[in-house]
Amino acid sequence: MSVVRAAIRGFGELLITAGIVLMLFVVYQLYWTGVGANRAMDQARQQLEQQWQSGSDLPAPTGEAFALMYVPRFGSDWGSKPIFEGIDPLTLRKGLGHYTGTAMPGELGNFAVAGHRTTYGQPFHNADDLEPGNSIYVRTRDTWYEYRVRSQEIVSPDALDVTWAVPQVRNSRPTKRLLTLTTCHPKFSDRQRLIVYAELESTRNVSDGPPPGLVSGKA
């Protein structure tokens, strides 16, 4: 009798332990990864500013930051996020990642950028809030690029064609200067991907100061 009781108790304790471990894992994913990511992003931002002063410019080696993104629509708390070269998991833990091989900011073609939705500082948490006409600013050493959101789309995870120079059109010559954001969808899932397309609206020399729309915080 007491053996049965001990076995049942042991099994119950195991289940409770498993529940606690799973809860801790959720805390780790949704909160703790962000602590490290925010620190990494601050560090990358400082490093970028130093690099820009010392004169080094694009292209950045894989895993290095080369630009900053500003999205007024995400609110002033969002600040700016560094864009790193490459989209491997380790790079995306530090900030946004540029799909290597796609266009660079301002170039003809498609400047494609991936970012986390719910973990690692969740830079693209509110990507579904972006509406046509909203501004996305990208700053490199010498230039501000202002992109305007054109549309959103939800695609399957294997839809790499959204990063093509002309999205969804194979091997065609680009005529537009696009920015494409990719993140997971729905939140807390990887069943699909949320894609936001934007097109270059204007450019501005960094020496002329930050874009007026960014200073005023207009979305």
């Binding site: 801790l24 894992f25 990864t33 491997d88 799909y99 986390h116 939705r117 294997d158 990063t163 120079a165």
Partner: protein, 65 residues
Amino acid sequence: MYAFIWEHLPGNRLVKSICALALFLGAVWVLFTFVFPRVEGLSPFGNVTVDRTPSDDASAASAEQ
């Protein structure tokens, strides 16, 4: 299991409680530092990129998962 640990912790109730808390925090530390970073690739929260499709062209060759 927990009863067994409790019985083998030293001291009176207060000391046992402090030891138990230390054990718990140690377990959390091990999980956060060693276990979770290794298993998080299995969670669905982190996949934010679009992957190569089987019939893909090579233009975005390095856009791997």
